[in-house]
């Protein structure tokens, strides 16, 4: 009963009135962030990190707050998918396929409540899975040496590039941009500046928060200027909200299956929530067959991707906590949060700082329950939030981003750099180059290089050392397969197009 005592420790840390208050605030804020079109979980968490940091919260409180925001944003993403046919973030795309038709049939309230319950089931089961799986994976991770870690980081970039992008070269280029940025700054072993071009501001390197906020939040404003804020008005009216018990009961197996599929997809490093909701939807669609009516607004089509998406969000925490390798864009941002709090994820986290890990897990469970209780009766309030016009929302988000970064360092240089990353983000997204590998590269570049250097020092410069253990070879094979296989599977795994009116 190791888990129960650990869980008791976690709840002991996370279940004080103050942290509960933070959890409620975080869930509320997160749901709003997720619901607003153009402000997904990654943006939301990214903007809030610098502010949380300057607030001077201790590690546990900050973690509780931000994980609540994270889960809340995953919940909130479905609201705009269902009502506006605009996914708040990428994983919510699959929810539009059946959610929006259901809303057009006048069952918007049912779809919202059903998807809320499905999110709860997915996230709850995934958190249980995380508790069971993470400690044993952490034990395996102790076997990892520098060669294995190098291969593992490579695997993350390869699968992320393979799955999340339509063009392998572009995904790899994005990873290189991030890794290249990570090499800028004072070198750890020689103590001499590298690749700074003599600029004093760059001696400390480029702060990943500056890059994240720039690429995710500032880039967004250019897209809104381009579209003149179109598509932010309300699409479908929401009438009375009641709990559709019959629908919930009839989709129970769908939710369970989708949670399993999503959780496994989330564990794969680099694959993340988008793949989870996609696989969950597609597998349920094929189980239901042609008679299932997927795509026309059936409850199962709403429940499956939401359960899968939220289960994957939980699953993505497994590699992030045990190995320090995030499984999705948002977990990459959460990794950034841990790093700002001076917590290094990895196998030692479980043995050295159990209160952080189990406090985090307990706060996930708390956030889940709070979200379910909050979402069913208060869904109307969140729908109101969707009516905030883009011409107030976007300038506001931009100013919050500026204040956040400014309060970190107080330097104009970081602000200018952030604007630069915003412009870069606009062009990258326009050219269909994924931005998540850039973030991952900046976050993991230092560790990846360290692993390589230690491997080279241990082996006295013999490159074959990188392939010297079965685990390392297995990871290399998985990395190459993860990068190459999607090229051939692309025809098979074609994403269904969102319906248009």
């Amino acid at each position: 009963m190791d888990i129960l005592s650990n869980l008791a420790l976690g709840f002991g840390v996370a279940l004080s009135p103050y942290t509960l208050f933070l959890a409620v605030c975080g869930c509320f804020l997160g749901t709003i962030i997720g619901a607003l079109p153009g402000l997904g979980p990654s943006n939301g968490v990214a903007i809030l990190i610098p502010i949380t940091f300057t607030l001077g919260l201790d590690a546990t409180s900050a973690l509780v707050l931000m994980t609540s925001v994270y889960y809340g944003a995953m919940y909130g993403g479905r609201i705009s998918s269902i009502l506006l046919n605009i996914p708040g973030d990428e994983p919510a795309l699959m929810t539009t396929l059946d959610g929006y038709p259901m809303a057009k049939q006048g069952r918007a309230g049912d779809a919202l409540v059903l998807s809320g319950v499905a999110s709860f089931v997915g996230a709850f089961l995934a958190t249980i899975g995380l508790m069971l799986l993470a400690p044993s994976l952490a034990r395996v991770a102790f076997l990892f040496g520098p060669a294995e870690y190098f291969a593992l980081y490579l695997l993350a970039f390869c699968t992320l590039g393979g799955m999340a992008s339509n063009n392998q070269a572009k995904a790899a280029l994005a990873a290189c941009i991030g890794l290249g940025i990570a090499t800028i700054g004072v070198d750890s072993s020689s103590g001499l500046p590298r690749l700074t071009g003599g600029n004093l501001h760059l001696f400390d390197g480029i702060d990943f928060l500056v890059a994240i906020v720039g690429l995710f939040a500032i880039a967004e404003i250019f897209f809104f200027i381009e579209s003149h804020g179109a598509g932010s008005s309300i699409g479908v009216k929401l009438d009375k909200v009641r709990v559709p018990l019959r629908d919930i009961w009839s989709t129970k197996w769908t939710m369970l299956r989708a949670s399993g599929v999503g959780f496994i997809a989330g564990i794969l490093p680099g694959a993340g929530a988008s793949l989870g909701s996609f696989l969950a939807y597609m597998s349920e669609k094929s189980i239901a067959g042609d008679k299932g009516g997927f795509g026309t607004g059936v409850p199962k089509g709403v429940a499956a991707p939401e359960a899968g998406n939220n289960a994957a969000a939980g699953g993505a925490l497994v590699p992030m906590l045990t190995l320090g390798v995030p499984g999705s864009g948002t977990t990459a941002v959460l990794l950034a949060l841990l790093m700002t709090l001076n917590i290094t994820p990895g196998p030692t986290l479980f043995s050295d700082r159990p209160e952080v890990v189990w406090g985090l897990i307990a706060s996930l469970l708390i956030a889940n329950v709070v979200l379910l209780l909050m979402n069913v009766p208060m869904v109307k309030i969140f729908v109101k939030v969707l009516m905030v016009p883009a011409w107030i929302l976007l300038p506001g988000v931009t100013m919050i981003s500026f204040v956040g970064i400014y309060s970190l360092s107080g330097s104009y240089f970081d602000l200018l750099l952030m604007v630069g990353f915003g412009v870069l983000g606009y062009f990258l997204r326009k050219l269909d180059i994924p931005t998540v590998p850039v973030i991952l590269g900046i976050l993991l570049g230092g560790n990846m290089e360290d692993a390589l250097r230690r491997a080279m020092t241990l082996s006295d410069g013999d490159a074959m050392y990188l392939f010297s253990s079965p685990i390392a070879i297995g990871l290399w094979i998985a990395a190459i397969a993860g990068f190459v296989a999607p090229m051939f599977l692309r025809g098979l795994l074609k994403k269904p197009q969102a319906i248009t009116d």
Partner: protein, 162 residues
């Protein structure tokens, strides 16, 4: 087609420049001759190969915005850059009114709502940050000397600023 080729070319030049800079990395006896350069070499090489792929196997062009929108976006970048350097010498409220107001106008070109949202956001966010969240280094306003103002603006002018 063209967009990918241009971006690929820019990326290629950057990768080659990065590799060239990597050969110049200073080393000393603590780090060894080769280790600080190894990882940058690897990244630069992979990036150059990927850039070549983009040049020779480009994807179809995305839908680019029309000419007027480009002007708008360039203006937005300028506003954000000026805002970034003005935040220190002028304090929070005045620059934010202008920056938020202009951005709001660019998304939805109506003068009065834009001005109101600039004013509202500036004051609202200031109260939120200063009093609700207690962020220390946000100052309501400062009266700068002309020299300080010029110092801040000159950052944005190439070869003049520092």
């Amino acid at each position: 087609m063209a967009a990918d080729r241009i971006f690929g070319l820019v990326a290629l030049i950057t990768a080659v420049a990065y590799l060239a800079a990597a050969t110049q990395i200073q080393t000393n006896m603590f780090s060894g001759e080769f280790l600080p350069k190894l990882f940058p070499y690897m990244i630069g090489t992979v990036a150059a190969i990927c850039a070549l792929f983009m040049v020779f196997k480009p994807d179809p062009d995305p839908e680019w915005p029309v000419k007027g929108t480009w002007v708008n976006m360039a203006l937005a970048v300028l506003v954000l850059a000026v805002y970034a350097v003005m935040l220190t010498p002028l304090g929070f409220i005045l620059p934010t009114i202008f920056a938020a107001g202009i951005l709001s106008y660019q998304i939805s070109p109506r003068l009065v709502p834009a001005a109101l949202s600039g004013l509202g956001l500036s004051l609202g966010l200031f109260v939120l940050f200063k009093y609700a969240l207690g962020l220390g280094n946000i100052v309501a306003y400062r009266v700068p000397t002309p020299a300080k103002l010029w110092d801040a603006i000159s950052i944005l002018i190439p070869f003049v600023g520092h």
